[in-house]
Amino acid sequence: MIEVRNVTKIYTAKGKDIVGVKDVSLTIEKGEIFGIVGYSGAGKSSLLRCLNLLEKPTSGEILIDGVSITKLSKKELREERLKIGMIFQHFYLISAKTVYENIAFALKAAGKKKDEINQKTLELLQMVGLESQKDQYPAQLSGGQKQRVGIARALANDPKVLLCDEATSALDPNTTKAILSLLQSINKKLGITIVLITHEMEVVKEICHRMAVMQDGEIIETGDVYNLFAHPEKELTKTFISSVIQMNLPEPLLKGRKGVVIKIHFKGAIAEEAVVSELFQNFKVKGNILHGKIEYIQETPLGIFIMELIGDEAEVKRAIAYIKDRIENLEVVKHVA
């Protein structure tokens, strides 16, 4: 669907070169919601803006549905942009136009006829739930409503791709949830590929299928969201994930423990099985649960338990082996003191 090949973007400001995106290659599949996370200045915004050529990559190639957009003429690029919707953190609506006119503007850009514009605009208004606000001006709307107008405008010409530039970062938590579920339903209903960038891990956890982590212009880790949440490899990825899933015990609590402290990640269906209770039935160890949580990442459970095992050393070892046998992810946090 979207193929980014060795894209580099260098900005020149006051004679100095600043690298925005450094040799990034990436494939985004049709129909998926792909999240790019990173701190501000990591280059995620530059990368996203390269996807519809708001920024022209210094080198590299971008293919959308097999079409190399980096090689299009101005006119062809404009036509291609009709098929790539984009929404922004600060909405960027035309303040002098009503909600209706803002959406109709996108259809006019595609050269649609009046009747068609009218019909489609009303359809879009209904989809984003703003029928009764159609004659209001952006200044009269709340942030969430403005973003809905932005979404309707972006979807006006039935795009294949929707780019979201920190689309929920200016919204409060409740509105964020509502906008995210709207994006999710758009993705499901219309099959539109969504690429979003954010610094909020919550957003990724909520709706993304796959994700990439960016740092200093490079993609340092890519993968299935669930798997990355379960086994983050890079330090930065771990930091981002810990912002939504607390996985570490406070140091003082760990110090006072006498037994072996283990951390277990239950993934998927096994999180709902009775592994822990079987453990205590089969082995002569006492368990002391210090921390336990089951997170649902898009309806797939991810369980995290931190337990202290107390008992005969050999028996504890056997117990650990038993769990390791059934669950791939077990980490001994602290051995016997």
Partner: protein, 220 residues
């Protein structure tokens, strides 16, 4: 005192309409030429729709050139041009030529400034939607800058009213000229006072109307 006021009424009336005539013509011309020029100054800037360093530079220099010449000198210097366009160098129509030439760059700069206040993101969003540059100018830039452009028209009209006082040099007439000839040269304070009050009222009126319209078109 009332007597002398009464006796000047026909002249004052004539002067009033001469002023109106000159301001209307030159305001009209400066809108027709200055608006596209202002848009051109803006869109040829770096990173914008029609980025073009040469046009930007040449237009910028031309605008500054005209703006740096004192109006009274411009008025005289442009006499050949006036002769060419109107076939005469005296009268309110002739004066309107130099008034227009002075007002065009003035208005164009004001238009440019109000366009600059538009959030670049709004323009970018229109680009991302696939709109053509012309459509962006018509449907994004001009509507977004409308309140600013209305203010610019007000300021230009008021400035033209001021400049038109100098039109007497080429026999343009008008209220300002009337005040100078009858009030200032003849030491007739009544006339001078009356005309100045009249000018103040006109300026106030223009400002109030301009502000009102600007408020009405402002949707922000």
């Amino acid at each position: 005192m009332l007597d002398s006021l009464y006796s000047i009424l026909p002249d004052l009336n004539k002067a009033f309409f001469e002023t109106l005539y000159m301001v209307a013509i030159s305001l009209g011309v400066s809108l027709i030429v200055g608006l596209p020029l202002g848009v051109a100054l803006f869109v040829t800037d770096k990173g914008l729709l029609f980025e073009n360093v040469w046009i930007k530079q040449i237009a910028g220099i031309l605008v500054n050139l005209i703006r740096s010449v004192p109006f009274i000198i411009l008025l005289v210097a442009l006499l050949p041009l006036t002769q060419l366009i109107t076939g005469t160098t005296i009268g309110p129509t002739a004066a309107s030529v130099s008034l227009s030439v002075a007002a065009i760059p003035f208005f164009a700069r004001l238009v440019e400034t109000s366009l600059r206040e538009i959030d670049k993101g709004v323009i970018e969003a229109a680009v991302a939607v696939g709109a053509t540059p012309w459509m962006i100018i018509r449907e994004v830039l001009l509507p977004e800058a409308k309140p600013g452009i209305v203010q610019a028209i007000t300021v230009t009209a008021i400035s033209l009213l001021g400049y038109s006082a100098m039109a007497g040099i080429v026999g343009g007439g008008g209220i300002g000229d009337f005040a100078i000839r009858f009030g200032y040269y003849r030491y007739d304070n009544t006339i001078m006072f009356t005309t100045v009050v009249l000018l103040i009222v006109i300026v106030q009126l223009m400002q109030v109307i301009g502000d009102g319209v600007a408020r009405a078109v402002n949707k922000r």
